[in-house]
């Protein structure tokens, strides 16, 4: 395949940045999207130009490091995959592909396609944990039975990889799906209920301070989420938050 790439180039956080066109040929459908970018970078380096910076690490769809807004969608046009698992067979010969960073005020661009998602970490610092010491003096695991249905739902929520596709896809740059997933994981487990009130109040407060927008239930996040995290988690977050607010 031969492709035209329109890629966002931005030297650093203070640079204004712009879209730049690149031509690339000889792309096989079996390549992953990032392998296609590797090839582009190799060609750029050999030409003495600056390679395109992008985040990536595990390349098997689980670490959540890769991002990219491809042809107007987070992680590109395929469903249930991250960019590293998006394969070039999804594109047609001669196609023009737009490649942009995840955009949100809370995710400032570091360079080119690399953004700073530490706002996500700070939300977790505010309460994304159960306060048990890791000393090992805990009770036997099987003394806390958990209804299988709840355990499965908690797991589904916990599959969030923290990539930020929800924020990137949301017209409001809302982080509600991300937070909803974490709140749900703990809200569904007996271990998590003890601190539920403080957890949700503190985490929502932090989320708001980070400058994410408000959820307007467009559902874009659920569609673009590579792990298929459900909107039910946002509803649960709303419930948890409202009941926590009433409790004070």
């Amino acid at each position: 395949m031969n492709l035209t790439l329109k890629i966002w180039r931005q030297k650093n956080a203070n640079d204004k940045g712009k879209m730049v066109d690149y031509q690339i040929g000889d792309i096989s459908g079996d390549m992953s999207f990032l392998e296609m970018l590797d090839l582009l970078n190799d060609q750029l380096i050999n030409k003495g130009e600056e390679p395109v910076a992008f985040d990536h690490d595990c390349r098997e769809g689980i670490c959540g490091m890769c991002s990219l807004y491809i042809n107007g969608e987070a992680h590109g046009p395929d469903r249930g995959v991250t960019t590293c698992q998006l394969h070039m067979r999804m594109f047609k010969d001669g196609e023009t592909i737009f490649i942009e960073p995840f955009r949100a005020k809370a995710f400032p661009v570091i360079k080119d396609l690399v953004v700073d998602r530490s706002a996500f970490d700070r939300i977790q610092h505010a309460g994304g944990f159960i306060s048990v010491n890791t000393s090992g003096n805990t009770i036997d695991a099987n003394t806390i039975p958990v209804n299988k249905h709840d355990a499965d739902d908690a797991f589904s929520a916990a599959t969030c990889i923290g990539c930020g596709a929800c924020v990137a896809s949301c017209k409001n740059s809302s982080a509600m799906l991300y937070l909803g997933a974490k709140i749900s994981q703990f809200a569904l487990l007996p271990q998590g209920k003890i601190e539920a009130t403080d957890r949700v109040l503190n985490m929502v407060k932090q989320m708001d301070e980070e400058g994410f927008g408000n959820c307007t239930n467009t559902g874009a996040c659920e569609v673009e989420c590579p792990k298929g995290i459900s909107l039910e988690n946002i509803a649960r977050l709303n419930r948890e938050y409202l009941s926590a607010t009433l409790k004070g």
């Binding site: 096989s28 390679p51 595990c58 769809g61 959540g64 977790q124 805990t138 271990q191």
Partner: protein, 670 residues
């Protein structure tokens, strides 16, 4: 220097308890005055950082990713072992200990492994308390599955992403401490050197990967939880950023590097599809619970398949060679990883590989789908003779167990594994070798610790499935927090460590010089060019099967490649920016040294053990004919290499392994 493992005296079952009863402790007020640096935030580093902070130490944690949650432990799929015996199938601490030592082909230190088995059960308690959503049965209790090389079900799991859930548990424990200010987290920072002051590790030099700033960080002890070095092969199941740099810098500063040649080649990975490939993807070992591995029995079928004239589903059962079941009837498809990998290579080398490259075998779920389908039909009182229904029901069960893996396979290969067998081939996955540590997990540099995959200690020459997660968390949550206290009890009066000492100045200068070299060198090839070449040498000559000729060639080829690298490498951009190529250049430079030591170690060990298979050391007759042959008389030792400039000049130190509680036997899975 003689290697002293500092293993406590006494019966093996009491060693750890006795040890804990007699170590020196640091009182809570003094812990506040002690700093610890933890590099790496995977299961080992993350759990260590959290626990040390809870204990009261001031922790500085470093990771090169943009968040500690992204460390490569996250990619572990199958599960975590623990001797809970919840299934009542005869498991015990001793049995886990025994299986691990045997699985490691008797090349691990007994006392360490026993301790690992001993604390394993507690890991599960800990993780459940943290809210890790393990798989459960309908009664609400924890579920188990079975893994390769063992005869019990002791593996706890969370679908096909156990590593992610455990790491998020450790990450949440870290977050709690970050929120309290007890951990200072440095994301997007890469450690580029250890600073040793008066013979003790007292800090690190790190590069801020966003700004390029070179920073000095001091502490009373330094802990490396920086993972393995499988990426020396270029293609592996490791993350793109996984590297040996931290461990290698420690080696250069005096830590011995143990058993570098012990590499685990994982049998079930998605085969290479072309030259563009940047990494390999693992399909969890848990798939071998239900998948049967085979190649066609007849060469004409192989040819027909490669030419696309025949589909694997069209080959009758009697024309298939289920070679693991044939060769190892007792363990069948669940033999340990090294055995399964070599068997696949044997079939492919004999010409029976089933894809265009000839390097793939089938992993087939049709039998399991039938079995589960019939089970479900019985449970649901449905017609057990309706073939379509049975298939549908069976596929649903398989989807529940392995859905995410099947989906991943389909996305990558573009074939539906519910209806056609998966193609798999072995790939580099884990490195059992690593920094030599004593019973305290301390390297030969006082105050410098190595935990998790970064050390060498628990898996011998081959790691059993679901044991890496166990070791990482055991080290971080339960072992290091005790052992490091014993060391730090001497430091309660030391006070803050200055970063202005000549050692810090010198280390920083060396780091800056190297970076400056990369930036200014006007070479002709990109970093990846060298990395790929190194990977090819390693895979071809130091891979699944090794011989003297190949290893000797590898050593000289790697040396030559290294020399070329230092002349011809080209790194674009500057230091004062986000520059991935620059970071990669430093990592590949270290791989180019490690690779040679790796080959040297493999050449030196004239036996086959675990993941290290020497073609000149096989059983020549008897029931085990053709299987790997260990040489306990001459090689029952840990090979710990001391750095002396060039890898070729490295000096070998031996830690003789004593087996008092387990009888040394040939590993038989027949």
């Amino acid at each position: 220097m003689a290697l002293d493992s500092k293993t406590p005296q006494g019966p093996i079952a009491d060693k750890w308890t006795n040890y804990k009863n007699h170590i020196n402790l640091v009182n809570p007020a003094n812990k506040r005055n002690i700093d610890v640096i933890v590099v790496g935030t995977g299961l080992a580093g993350g759990s260590a950082a959290a626990t040390l902070a809870e204990l009261g130490y001031n922790v500085k944690a470093f990771c090169f990713q943009d968040s500690p949650r992204r460390a490569h432990s996250i990619a572990a799929q199958g599960g975590i072992n623990a001797a809970k015996n919840y299934q009542g199938d005869g498991d015990s601490t001793y049995r886990l200990f025994y299986d691990t030592v045997k699985g490691g082909d008797y090349r691990s230190r007994e006392a360490n492994v026993y301790r690992l088995a001993e604390v394993s059960a507690n890991i599960i308690d800990q993780c459940v308390a943290q809210g890790v959503p393990f798989a459960r049965e309908y009664g609400g209790l924890l579920d188990n599955r079975s893994f390769g090389g063992v005869l019990v079900s002791r593996t706890f799991y969370a679908a096909g992403q156990t590593g992610q859930q455990l790491l998020l548990g450790a990450y949440s424990a870290m977050n709690r401490q970050i929120g309290r200010g007890k951990i200072k987290m440095y994301n997007r920072h890469e450690m580029l050197d250890v600073v040793v002051v008066d013979g003790k590790a007292r800090g690190i030099i790190a590069r801020n990967l966003v700004t390029g700033e070179i920073e000095r960080h001091s502490a009373h002890a330094v802990v490396l939880g920086t993972g393995g070095y499988g990426n020396v092969f270029f293609l592996s199941t490791n993350a793109m950023g996984s590297n040996v740099t931290a461990a290698w810098k420690a080696h250069k500063r005096g830590s011995y590097f143990a058993n570098p040649c012990y590499t685990q080649i994982h049998p079930t990975c998605i085969p290479v599809s072309g030259d563009h490939q940047s990494k390999l993807t693992l399909m969890s070992e848990s798939l071998r619970n239900d998948g049967r591995i085979w190649v066609p029995k007849n060469m004409k079928d192989v040819t027909a398949i490669r030419e696309g004239r025949l589909k694997p589903t069209e080959i009758a059962d009697e024309n298939r060679d289920y070679y693991l079941e044939r060769r190892y009837p007792a363990f069948g498809n669940l033999v340990p990883r090294d055995v399964a990998s070599r068997a696949a290579k044997e079939r492919c080398d004999a010409g029976y590989g089933v894809n265009a490259t000839g390097e793939a075998v089938y992993l087939d779920f049709a039998t399991a789908i039938q079995r589960y389908g019939k089970e479900q039909a019985t449970v649901k009182h449905l017609d057990a003779n309706d073939k379509a229904l049975i298939k549908k029901l069976g596929q649903e069960v398989v989807k529940n167990k392995y859905g995410n893996l099947f989906q991943m396979y389909e996305k990558i290969v573009d074939q539906d594994p519910y209806n056609t067998p998966m193609m798999i081939y072995p790939a580099v996955h884990y490195t059992m070798g690593g920094l030599w540590v004593d019973y305290n997990l301390m390297t030969t540099v006082p105050g410098l610790y190595a935990i998790g995959e970064a050390n060498f200690s628990d898996h011998g020459a081959n790691r059993l499935g679901a044991s890496a997660l166990m070791q990482g968390l055991a080290d971080g949550y339960f072992v290091l927090p005790y052992t490091i206290g014993n060391y730090l009890s001497d430091d309660i009066r030391t006070g803050p460590i200055s970063t202005e000492t000549p050692e810090f100045v010198q280390a920083e200068k060396e780091v800056k010089e190297k970076i400056n070299f990369f930036i200014t060198n006007k070479g002709s090839h990109s970093v990846d060019y060298f990395h790929k070449k190194l990977g090819k040498i390693m895979w071809d000559k130091v891979g699944m099967s090794r011989n003297v000729t190949g290893l000797t060639e590898a050593i000289s080829e790697i040396k030559a490649l290294r020399e070329e690298f230092w002349k011809e490498v080209r790194v674009p951009g500057t230091n004062e920016e986000f520059n991935e190529q620059l970071a990669k250049a430093g990592r590949v430079a270290d791989f180019l040294e490690l690779g040679e030591l790796f080959a040297k170690d493999a050449l030196d060990r004239e036996e086959s053990c675990g993941g290290h298979f020497r073609e000149d050391s096989i059983e020549l007759s008897g029931e085990q004919k053709g299987e790997a042959k260990r040489d306990d008389e001459n090689y029952a030792y840990v090979a710990a290499w001391e750095y002396k400039g060039e890898p070729s000049a490295a000096v070998l130190h031996k830690e003789e392994l004593e087996f008092k509680d387990i009888e040394l036997k040939q590993r038989s899975y027949k």
